[in-house]
Amino acid sequence: MKTRLVALVAGLALGTSLLFTTAGIVTATTPPAGPAGTGVCLTQATALKASVTVDTLRAFGDCEINRRLATLTSLSSKITASKVMTSSDAEVLQSEIGSTRSGLTTLKATIDSETNITALRADIVKIATQFRVYLLVVPQVNLVNAADAVVYAQTRFATVNTNLAARIAAAKAAGKDTTAAQADLDAMNASVTAAVGLAGPLPAQLLPLTPAQYNAGTAGPVLKSARTALGTARNDLKSAVADAQACRAALIALK
């Protein structure tokens, strides 16, 4: 158990230092964010490594739980603010966030009342293993939002398709050779179809994932696969935008 606790503290410290570095690249002058930010519990982690007592364990556990609660609040706001996430996906994720929040709150009460060091150690390990806020819930919300955005983009491309198809028809009626423009438009639609084909099934794969599945090693590959698919889908949509612009350029060249 002590080994697991040390590993947890070390992992948190490593993650913290890594994210400090990342944040430093983006905004060098911005200090770490509030309770949801990284490095917030560094003081408690250091104190715990120096002396394992009920107080240091409890302080560390409370801090890590509060950090996760703040992260969950931020995720909930992100879902609420999303203009592309479907209502059904949002409902599932908000429910997951609610149950995670409830579980962490209960665990915090347990930690706050626990006086046995061995039991406290076990409770603190549960903060990570029972909830997987950063390794599962955060990626779930972000990846589902990205997938829904790709699917939502299809409606936007449909408008572009209508627009360009009308121009092609007009040019054709005027006796112009619209072969190139039509090829660009076809390519645009093919890219959009490919992107939606990749992103469409992802929410159904991502939403049911649980911390237990992550701990068993079955959720991680699903997250990784979804991330790869969404990267490809994003690139497909970028290509589609380029195809639309090429189509318009081809039509302008006919005038």
């Binding site: 490593l14 990284t38 994003r234």
Partner: protein
């Protein structure tokens, strides 16, 4: 003999001035009352300004971005008042592609958010 007449004349002149002033004040008050009872000039424009906030804001009409930015009022502001010089008609395709690019920015942001979390560890 002349002094009483002068006094009467001064009295009459004073009364005339007072009555002229009274009539003037009465007209001024009347117009002020009318202004107070009529709607303020700014009210119609205020009603126009609040109209977008009360109007429904369907998702499709707001500038596309996966996360709401709170700029719906800006993105739905009415077309600018035409000036004397004829402006070139913007190609609607530009705004359509801009909306899609905004969506793609949001996809990138979500993917970055997922990456940052998993690389940071639990």
């Amino acid at each position: 003999m002349n002094r009483p007449i002068g006094s009467v004349a001064r009295l009459a002149a004073t009364a005339l001035l007072v009555s002229i002033a009274a009539v003037g004040c009465a007209r001024h008050d009347g117009s002020g009352t009318a202004q107070a009872s009529s709607p303020p000039a700014a009210q119609p424009s205020g009603a126009v300004a609040t109209a977008p906030a009360n109007a429904p804001t369907p998702v499709a009409t707001v500038a596309d971005s996966p996360v709401a930015s709170g700029s719906a009022a800006t993105s739905q502001s009415p077309a600018p008042v035409p000036t004397g010089a004829p402006a070139a008609t913007p190609d609607p395709l530009d705004s359509q592609l801009t909306n899609i690019n905004n969506l793609l920015d949001g996809v990138n942001g979500s993917l970055s958010g997922a990456d940052a979390s998993t690389s940071g560890g639990e």
